[in-house]
Structures are given as structure tokens and as C-alpha cells.
């Protein structure tokens, strides 16, 4: 076999998560009362625009979660294949040229010459201090002085062309699909789409996709021959690093909630429903955990996990597996420190719900406690759970960067926004300044968190109308929502 699949712990959990999201979506789609709030989310313009950005991040993260080890050419005596120590992902294959174009050290975005002067041997003998050419960045240029800017410009134009063509194709495809679904003719659908008259804000989504394509097109075309965002100290491409960081951010933001959710939901509902000593015990546990300063608990747990992992080196075959184990520990401990808030909310809600008539009636009929909790209480607190999960995401992504700075975040060998910022922050003191590494990490993190924040606002608005997030302003931006009449 040319490769051997590697399923890291976090990969497995991500697949479980994806499966449960799909199952949840299927369940919701079959129940009208559950579908209503989601429809409201789908009708929110900023929410869906954010969802487009998030979806792209998620696709990159998922591609980066399919890991494998390539086989080596050498075979062992007994005919078994040897596999490379390096664990790659499908994303690495797609972005292969980014990974395999290392420079010697720093280089500025789109640079052709190195960042620092080096002593080079002149062809006619003798030595000189000058900026040497990069190994890969712009290596195809014969005379960089005159060709560089025109070459970059050509590629940008080509990239924009590609972007424009694919955007038009995408628009046509969406219009065709919608026309088919609503049974109207294609022209009318395209008109409605362009004027933003569809119930689901397809126009906003297409504009977002267009904006992404305008940036992504030139970047993709350029990245074959240049380091679009420069390289870092060891000459690794920054664009590649930022794209790899996305998976780490997503894992921290989602798996942490996945880990904590069962505890928080079960204990919260139990405390509120049973009251008495069960409530006392559960309240005691979460007050105790809550009173330990979060960062310190995380620091202690990660340090100890690191010590244990150093002691049991033999458990990990590759560096990636080790880094992954530490990431999992980080998710677990972040989960332990963050479940208390949700648990307290659910307890309060369950205390209120247990006095409702339908719960009283269920109890009068002799329904088992467990059934009351799962069939009557759980569905009625799900909106709180959902809002919390979506809102926690952005905070966790930001927390990862801070924790990595403190030294208790992800493994230093794992690429993440935190490790990028941590490695790059001292470079600002250099003259001339190395700013591209920091800037890219911050910009990508900002985009990820901003889109998560906007999406979570849309979810919150839909599921808890009482809370106003300040986005829906009907007076200023009137929505013209016209349901399309089928053309008969």
C-alpha cells in the first residue's frame, strides 16, 4: 500500500463530532418545530455570510484531519513496507508545494531576495555581502530586477480571472439549483438572486464567496512560485502555517465543548430536577472547580501531562501523535474548567421547568424520573445548550493563543495561531521588522473568530429572541423577502 492511514485521537473525535452533527441535522430536518429557529438562522444575512467563511475554514480543517503516513521505497527483509515517520494529511497533499518550498530563513512576502545579507562567492572569484536569491521564491525569474513586478502583476490578474470565472460558474450553479427546486425558470431565479429577493440570503452568501475568491484566486496562482506571506525563521512558508493553524483552532473550539457537554447537561439537569442532596453535591463540585483559577488549573494539568508523556515516550510512535495527545489533554482540561457555567445555567432552568404543569402531569402519571429528564426537560433546555456551544467557540480559539504564550498550550511542534504568535513576537524588535508572520496569524485568527461571533449571534437571535444582539434593525435595513411564486 502506498500509504497507511493514521487516525489520531483528535481525528477520531472530530469524525464522531461530524457524525453527530449530521445526525442532529437529519433529526432537526424531520421536525417542523425544530426547523423553525434554524430557518430563522438561514434567513439572517450576516449569519449566513459568516457561515460561508466558517464553512471554508471547516473544510480546510477537515481535510487537515485525514492523516496518513507515506510508504518509503526501502523494504524490510521480510517484505513489509516501511512508512515515513512524518504524519501527513490530505491537506498537505493539496498544499504540497507550500510545504516543500523551504527557504533558509526569513523572507518577506512575495520576495525574490533573502531578508538578510549573506556572504556569497562571486562567479569571477572573490566574495561579496549581498542579498542572495531565494531558493524557491521567484526562482523562475531570470532577471528579478526588471521582471519581478510585472510577473507578480500578471499572476494577480490571472488569479482574478480565475476567481471571476469560478464566481460566475458558482452563481449560475446556485441559480440553476434554486430554479429547479422552486420550479421557476432560470432567468427569473437569477433576477431574484441578483436583487436579493430570495428568502435565504443567497446574494449575501455569493458576495462573501466572491470576496473570498478575489483574495484566494491570486494567492493560489502566486503561491506556486512565491511565498505569498513570506517565510519564518526556519524558512517555512507562513501561508502554509496559517492554514495548518486552522485545524488546531477548530479542534480546540469544538472538541472542548464536545468533551464537556455530556457532564454539564446531565449534572445540570439532575441538580435542578432532583434538588435536595444531589443538588448540594453537584453545586459543591462545580463551585469548587469554578473557584480554582482556570489558567492555573490548565497550567498544572498540562505540565503534569507533559511530564507523564515524557516518562512514557514509548507510547507515541511519531511526533505528531505526541503533539496530538497533548492537544487532547488541553481540550479535556479546558472542558473541565468550562463546563461549570453551562451546568449552572441548566440547573437554574431545570429548577424552573420542573414546576411546569406538563412535568407535574408526567410525574402524576408515574413517568420514570429518567424519562422525564430526557423527554420533557432535555428538549426544553436544548436552546441554552446550543447557544452556549456556539458562543464558547470563539472564546476558546482566542484562549488557545494566550495559553500557548504562557507555555501551557499546544505542543511547540504543533502549528497553531498561539505558537506562531509566540515564535514571532520577538521579531518585531528586528531591524528591518519581520511583521508578516504575526500579521498573518492575527488576521486569520480574526477572520475565524469574527465569523464565529457573527454566526453565533445569528443562532442566539433565532433561539432566544429575548436577547437582542443589536444586529436586526428593521427600520434601517428593510428586508424585502418575497416568496417566489411557482411559474405555472
Amino acid at each position: 500500500m502506498p500509504f497507511r492511514p493514521v487516525i489520531l485521537w483528535t481525528d477520531a473525535l472530530i469524525f464522531v463530532l461530524v457524525a453527530s452533527v449530521v445526525a442532529f441535522a437529519w433529526y432537526v430536518s424531520r421536525h417542523e418545530h425544530l426547523r423553525t429557529p434554524w430557518r430563522k438562522v438561514a434567513h439572517s444575512r450576516y449569519g449566513m455570510a459568516a457561515a460561508v467563511v466558517l464553512a471554508i475554514f471547516v473544510v480546510i480543517g477537515l481535510l487537515d484531519s485525514l492523516h496518513f503516513r507515506q510508504s518509503l521505497d526501502t523494504r524490510q527483509a521480510d517484505g513489509r513496507t516501511n512508512y515515513a515517520v512524518e504524519v501527513l494529511s490530505v491537506f498537505d497533499l493539496i498544499a504540497g508545494h507550500l510545504r516543500t518550498m523551504p527557504e533558509r530563513t526569513y523572507s518577506a512576502p512575495l520576495a525574490v531576495y533573502a531578508f538578510a545579507k549573506e556572504t556569497v562567492t562571486l562567479p569571477g572569484g572573490g566574495e561579496a555581502r549581498e542579498f542572495p536569491r531565494l531558493r524557491h521564491g521567484g526562482a523562475h525569474l531570470k532577471d528579478p530586477q526588471s521582471e519581478h513586478s510585472s510577473d507578480v502583476l500578471q499572476r494577480v490578474v490571472a488569479g482574478l480571472g480565475v476567481a471571476a470565472v469560478s464566481w460566475i460558474l458558482l452563481t449560475m450553479l446556485v441559480a440553476a439549483a434554486l430554479a429547479h427546486r422552486h420550479e421557476v425558470n432560470f432567468g427569473a431565479m437569477l433576477d431574484a438572486l441578483m436583487q436579493g429577493r430570495t428568502a435565504v440570503p443567497w446574494r449575501s452568501m455569493l458576495i462573501t464567496a466572491g470576496a473570498i475568491l478575489v483574495v484566494a484566486g491570486p494567492v493560489i496562482v502566486l503561491s506556486g512560485h512565491y511565498h505569498v506571506l513570506g517565510t519564518d525563521k526556519v524558512g517555512q512558508d507562513i501561508l502554509y502555517q496559517t492554514l495548518k493553524s486552522i485545524r488546531t483552532g477548530l479542534v480546540i473550539g469544538t472538541l472542548t465543548t464536545l468533551v464537556m457537554l455530556p457532564f454539564a447537561v446531565l449534572l445540570g439537569i439532575m441538580a435542578g430536577y432532583f434538588r435536595g442532596w444531589i443538588d448540594d453535591v453537584i453545586s459543591y463540585v462545580y463551585t469548587t472547580l469554578n473557584s480554582i483559577p482556570g489558567v492555573l488549573l490548565i497550567a498544572a494539568a498540562v505540565l503534569i501531562a507533559q511530564a507523564q508523556m515524557d516518562k512514557h515516550q514509548e507510547m507515541f510512535e511519531t511526533v505528531a501523535e505526541r503533539a496530538d495527545a497533548r492537544l487532547l489533554v488541553l481540550c479535556l482540561i479546558l472542558g473541565v474548567t468550562s463546563w461549570t457555567g453551562l451546568c449552572r445555567l441548566l440547573r437554574g432552568e431545570a429548577l424552573k421547568l420542573r414546576e411546569m404543569e406538563y412535568v407535574q402531569a408526567a410525574r402524576a402519571f408515574g413517568v420514570h424520573d429518567w424519562q422525564i429528564m430526557t423527554r420533557h426537560l432535555l428538549p426544553n433546555v436544548m436552546h441554552i445548550v446550543l447557544i452556549t456551544v456556539v458562543m464558547d467557540f470563539s472564546g476558546l480559539v482566542l484562549a488557545e493563543a494566550v495559553l500557548s504564550y504562557v507555555g501551557v498550550g499546544v505542543d511547540p511542534s504543533m502549528i497553531s495561531f498561539g505558537t506562531m504568535i509566540n515564535n514571532a513576537r520577538l521579531e518585531l524588535a528586528r531591524e528591518p521588522m519581520v511583521w508578516w508572520s504575526l500579521a498573518s496569524a492575527f488576521v486569520f485568527m480574526f477572520l475565524l473568530v469574527l465569523s464565529a461571533n457573527l454566526f453565533s449571534d445569528a443562532v442566539r437571535d433565532a433561539f432566544d429572541p429575548r436577547l437582542r444582539t443589536g444586529w436586526s434593525l428593521p427600520a434601517i435595513f428593510p428586508r424585502r423577502s418575497v416568496t417566489l411564486a411557482p411559474a405555472r
Binding site: Y284, V285, T287, T288, L289, N290, S291, I292, P293, V295, L296, L297, A299, A300, A301, L303, I304, A307, Q308, D310, K311, S394, L398, A401, V402, Y405, V406, G407, V408, F417, I421, R425, L428, A429, L438, F442, M445, F446, V449, L450, N453, L454, D457, L467, R468, T469, G470, W471, L473, A475, I476
Partner: protein, 325 residues
Amino acid sequence: MFAYIVRRILYAFPILIGVNIITFLLFFVVNSPDDMARMHLGQKRVTPEAIEKWKAEKGYDKPLFVNAQAEGAGKLTRTIFFEKSVRLFWFDFGAADDGRDISYEIGARMWPSLAIAIPSLLVGLACYITFALSLAFFRASYIDFLGVVACVAAMSISGLFYIIGGQYVISKLWNLVPISGYGDGLDTWRFVLLPAAIGVIGGIGGSTRLYRTIFLEEIGKDYVRTARAKGLSEPRVLFGHVLRNGLIPILTGVVVAIPALFIGSLVLESFFGIPGLGSYTIDAIEAQDFSVVRAMVFLGSVLYIVGLILTDISYTLADPRIRLQ
């Protein structure tokens, strides 16, 4: 009220015992003293004698819970659990790995932490409330909308960006204040200014938005409509009625954070080289000095519980309708 406070203080003890047991389990059972010694002395080629010597120096050479060899009460007191964990209850933190007394360090490092935290808390509160109230004043207009957009954007920026950006622009480019460090006496303000300002800016998005929601909720209530019906001007409604009632949840939310100000901000202090408790903790984490980390965990929990009690008291002071029993 007095009885309530006494009961709350008594209730704090089981929680602190729980905190103590958790930290003890983390630091001594999961991670045995042998592991600790090996970590400090280096992973490889450590002789058993060296480990024993290190443990004896630090006082980790005793049994965990019960010392069978000792006499009488010594059975319980001459153990790691008693010497390292129970003693925290009378704030006897012992010595750090470098031999310095932890209690003394905490007493000395508390002041720089407070010098940063108190100004940024007060200025921040004033800023956030002002912004939130003006957004509420211009509610459902472009100004409000743009304000919320700005808040969400500010919320999405990593705190590290404000710190690094602030240091770069203010200190390096404009040379207004020193990049990092701390001084005594009159010079202190030059070192405090930037970190405190960044502390304020870091929380501006989330807090302004939260307070705006609180004010808008108040504005929707009946007494505000009555005030308007009486013919009061909009500023008087906002400042006389909405602000005063909106302040109750805001202030009680702040009170819980006041005791934690002693701990300071871990990241802010270590970026700006301020010799406060936050940077003390970070240094301890980096040096893997567990006795300091343990002391800070305990101190943090105590302060959190104090904060909770203060919150309850401040509720009754701010809103006479609430009675503690």
C-alpha cells in the same frame, strides 16, 4: 444579614478543602515526588541518590497521607499532605524552589499588580458605561449599529494583538512610555500607563456590548415609559432612571472580580515585565515550581470565594428589595 455572612464563610471551608484535595491529587499523586525530582534534575541519567537528596531538601521525602513510623499526632502531621497542603489554610505557603519565602513574595508583588489592575478597572468601567449608554441613547440608528459592529470586531481581536501592537506603536515608534519594566515612586505612572490602557481596550468590545444589552432591557420596562409619559427629557430618563437601575447588575458583576485583581493579569504582566503576582505565577509555571503554583491556586480560590460573598452583600446594598437570609 450577619448570620448569612457567617454561614457563607463557613460554607467556604468545604470548598477550600475540595480545592486543596484537587491540587494535592494533581501535584502529588498523579505526579509523584520522584517525577518532580526527575523533572528538576533532568530526565536522563539521574541517580536514585540524587533524587532522594532533592526530595529531602524540599521536604518531599515523607509518606503521602499516613506516616507509620512517627509517634502520636506525628502520624498525621509529618506527611506531605499535612506539610504541603493543610498548612495553606493558615496561609503558610512555605518556600519556593529557589528558597525564597512565598508569603513574603506575595506581599511584595501584590502592589505592582494592584497598580495596574485598579486603574484599568475604574477607567474601564467608566468608559464601558459611557459608551454603552450612548449606544442605548442612539438605539436603532446607524450610530448604534456601527457601535455594535465595532464591538463585535473588537471582541474578535486577540488580546495579544492589543499588547503587541500597543508596545510596538506607543513604545517603539513613538517612544512615549518605556516598553516594559517597573519603577518605584513618582516614575511608576510611566510604566503603568500602557498596560492599564491595554487592559481597558482589551475588554471594550465585550463589556460595552453586554452593558448596552442591560441598558436596553431597562429601557423597555414600564417605569421608563412612565417617566417619559411624565414628560421627562430623554437624557434625564437615561441618567436618572435607566443608568441607576442598570448599574445594579453591572456593579454586582464587577464586585466578583475585585478580589481577583490581586492576582493581576498573567499575560499583561509578563509582557510588560511588571513584577506582580501574574508574572510571578508565569515564571513559576515556566520553571515548574509547583509550590508557588499551588500557593497561587489556593490564594485564587480564597479570593474567588471572597468575591462571591461580596457580590451577595453588594446586591443588598444596591437593591434594598433583595434580602439575604
